[in-house]
């Protein structure tokens, strides 16, 4: 079976404050993941 997650999260488009609070995944394609482990921050 499969689960698809679609969600809104902050992105920072201005080069000036890039990275300040933008969402980014902390996983890779093909990774094994378990319930409760971080997908992104």
């Amino acid at each position: 079976s499969t689960v698809v997650l679609v969600f809104q999260a902050p992105v920072s488009r201005s080069p000036k404050n890039q990275g300040s609070s933008e969402f980014s995944f902390c996983t890779r394609k093909g990774d094994r993941i378990r319930v409760g482990e971080a997908l992104g921050r």
Binding site: S1, T2, V3, V4, L5, V6, F7, Q8, A9, P10, V11, S12, R13, S14, P15, K16, N17, S20, S21, E22, F23, F25, T27, R28, K29, G30, D31, R32, I33, R34, V35, G36, E37, A38, L39, G40, R41
Partner: protein, 349 residues
């Protein structure tokens, strides 16, 4: 007397037949997986390519087969036989039996075992409040940001499906407008010092109080992640973050397999298949989760709505049948879930 003797062999006979069938299926799967793995190691990514087997699958009564499989796995197994059957399952599909919450002989049927909960503490939840966690055990197939209007998610190289067809025509999904997209891309290309053109500049001129890219709170992007659960994985679905579930949408659909092969041979696989979509809001905006069934795992149970039944017999199959929708009360607030809460489960048949 011969018929009564036949009866006493029914359950063990059916169990042995099932195990043999699983064994044959598993051997074939291992062979296929090996081929795909070799290709992947060589850096090859299979492209979308429908084939005869996929066409043949479309002719099969997969929902009925799935329900029959559910009936078969609902047959109560004798207590003495249960540990052997579940250990065989665990060996075949690489399940971790140590995590099962109950002793093996307390799972009366394979179906009960399949939807087992885990021992306390087996799945610690990442405590970082800014962290979004995985709702399931599985393999990350795809993830990223949806940028273009008419947001599409790649099913496999060469074929994509639209997010709105997956979530439903009246999804709460925020629209990504061309303007936004343009503004975003122009902003990336044009640093603030380049003031010459582009709609982004026009917006800031026309309403400087509405949007100042330097001082305003971060914009919102739309992200997605696709996770595949193998048959041996833990099949309960947990909440990825603190959120309010506002609406549930049930699409009664096909039940194609969703393995790697199916993703590259069956068009719109996730949009065609039976699925349950939960939508709502979290602190950063929209949150949507689609749980998609498959032939062997055709049932999706919601702990927040126990009475929902999926994979029901239907007289006719209308492709464009609208989903059955339910708004959770109180409207606008819905059901509140905490990160890590159990919220749903897949089951066999």
């Amino acid at each position: 007397s011969s018929s009564s003797q036949g009866n006493s062999f029914l359950v063990p006979g059916a169990t042995v037949a099932t195990i043999l069938m699983l064994g044959a299926l598993h051997a074939r799967r291992l062979y296929d997986d090996k081929k795909v793995e070799d290709a992947r190691e060589k850096g090859l990514e299979f492209e979308f390519h429908p084939d005869v087997k996929a066409t043949f699958l479309q002719l099969l009564p997969l929902r009925s087969i799935s329900r029959y499989w559910g009936l078969l796995t609902s047959v109560e197994i004798p207590v003495w036989l249960r540990p052997y059957v579940y250990r065989a399952w665990a060996r075949a599909f690489h399940s971790n039996l140590e995590e099962a919450a109950m002793p093996l002989d307390e799972y009366a049927t394979l179906r009960d075992f399949f939807v087992r909960s885990l021992k306390e503490g087996s799945r610690p939840i990442d405590p970082d409040p800014r962290c979004l966690v995985s709702p399931v055990d599985g393999i990350i197939l795809r993830f990223g940001e949806l940028k273009a209007a008419g947001a599409m998610i790649e099913q496999v190289k060469g074929f994509s499906y639209s997010v709105s067809s997956l979530l439903g025509a009246n999804s709460l999904l925020p629209m990504i407008t061309e303007e936004t997209t343009h503004a975003e891309s122009s902003e990336l290309e044009n640093t603030p010092k380049d003031q010459s053109n582009k709609s982004w500049w026009r917006v800031s001129l026309a309403s400087p109080k509405v949007w100042d890219p330097v001082a305003s709170s971060p914009m919102k992007g739309l992200f997605y992640c696709v996770i595949y659960l193998k048959p041996g994985d833990y099949h309960r679905i947990h909440s990825p973050i603190d959120w309010n579930v506002l609406v549930r949408r049930h699409f009664s659909g096909r039940l194609f397999p969703v393995n790697e092969r199916a993703t590259r041979t069956i068009r719109n696989l996730y949009v065609e298949n039976e699925r349950v979509v939960l939508e709502g809001q979290w602190q950063e905006g929209f949150m949507g989760i689609a749980a998609i069934g498959a032939t062997n795992i055709g049932s999706i149970e919601l702990f927040i709505e126990p009475e929902l039944r999926t994979n029901r017999p239907r007289k006719k199959f209308f492709h464009s049948e609208p989903p059955e929708e339910r708004i959770y009360e109180p409207e606008g607030v819905g059901v509140m879930l905490k990160k890590g809460d159990e919220m749903a489960a897949f089951n066999m048949g």
